[in-house]
């Protein structure tokens, strides 16, 4: 089993935890609707929803063509944007924007 990393990260549109999931799934089953940069929305599984909010930045990866989200902390965010292509200045600005967005995420989503 080899994980495939998708380029980019996404934002939580909504999420839930099923306490009695259908046959073939283990409880608790964490499901999130994630919007990737560019607008495509994915249904994903995740390991945890603690600390997760609508508008939270998450990383998405596919394992055996099932998508998983994981919550990004400030350090993970900085790392994610540091590794992306582009000039150093762009990277620093992406990190700054991402951190700023984290601060304002509650307000930004409340009006959508």
């Amino acid at each position: 089993m080899e994980p495939v990393l998708l380029p980019g990260a996404g934002e939580i549109v909504s999420f839930t935890t099923l306490h009695a999931p259908p046959a073939g799934f283990r409880a608790p089953l964490h499901i999130a609707l994630v919007e990737l940069e560019g607008g495509a929305r994915f249904v994903c599984h995740g390991a945890d929803t603690r600390g997760l909010r609508i508008g939270s930045r998450v990383a998405i990866e596919a394992v055996d063509s099932v998508y998983y989200f994981s919550h990004l902390g400030a350090v993970d965010r900085a790392r994610l944007f540091w590794h992306r292509a582009g000039r150093a200045g762009d990277r620093v600005s992406a990190i700054a924007r991402s951190l700023a967005k984290r601060v304002f995420k509650g307000r930004a989503r409340a009006s959508s």
């Binding site: 549109v13 999420f15 073939g24 249904v43 599984h45 099932v66």
Partner: protein, 373 residues
Amino acid sequence: MRDVWVAGAAMTRVGRRSERLQDLMAEAAHGALRSAGLDAPDAIVVAAMNPEEFVGDGNFASNAAAHLGFAQAPALRVETATSSGAAAFYAGFALLAAGLRRAVLVVGGEKMTHLATPRVSELIGRSLDPYERSYGATMPALAALVTRALMARGVGARELAQVAVKNHANALRNPYAHFRRAVTPEEVLESRMVADPLRLLHCCPISDGAAAVVLTADRAGVRVAGIGQGNDTLALRHRQILTSFRATQAAAGEAFAMAGFGPERVDVAELHDAFAPFELISLEDLGLVPPGKAGRVTLDGETALDGRLPVNPSGGLKARGHPLAATGLAQIVECVWQLTGRAEGRQTQARVALAQSIGGLATNNWVTLLEAA
């Protein structure tokens, strides 16, 4: 287009029933024919969401018609998932409006309490997008995604709980209801978590039951003023907005355009509260309350039985119960009773009634407007 009238209406008690689906349908159908003073219909429209899986019978239009004693009447079956009853009503309406028939029996029913809950959930879940289902998404799971987005927009837990509290209080006055007991906001807020943030008492029960109406070309007590259908993507992830249903908005637009009046004329409404938040979303989608106000209005008692706009006097899907294909017709039966003074114990003063039915996760919705003659 010719005028269409509702000449008769009847339903069974909703709940855990031991009778066969055909027997439940017969009870409702013969009741509706009796109340219309009609011996036999020209045609029959049958609504059943999934009798093949729930009870193991197919060819269900003929099956039901034969069981009713009208084996030779033209019969057809209509299915749009959980709004099948409303869709069947539309088909019956269309037959009369086009002048093809003069008296049509529309009957819908479902029988599912004899199956285990996970099996019922799986069968209902088949109305969802297959890809989303492959992630374990069920109807409550997707409704939970909608609910969390709604709460992020400012709808509070108290407001959600109040929908269930109100509808249980109404069902206490309805002898046909599945649940005839009151619940408190605390009970709702402390009930078992089903799909975070949706709790057990936010969700409708699994119910058996049937409902029927007789539609005629001859003038009767209630006129079908308007009817509309609205549709949306099967997949929730293909929608930009989670906190309102395009399918309800489109259906309402069609229905009000046909009726020639707006939401301000509606005196009483039966809404599809399969999950408590859906009642709040629907109130706004239908234009019955201004955007963002449904929670406040509910908490203030405006949608209570004695409020400005009584909503779900029957108890709604939440407490009257949700026997799938019966539900859209049960809503219309309640509206007819409200308009003709036959809603004993929960009677409102109404000249115009609205019924809204949601199919699947709001992929195939219906709005019906009825007016007292």
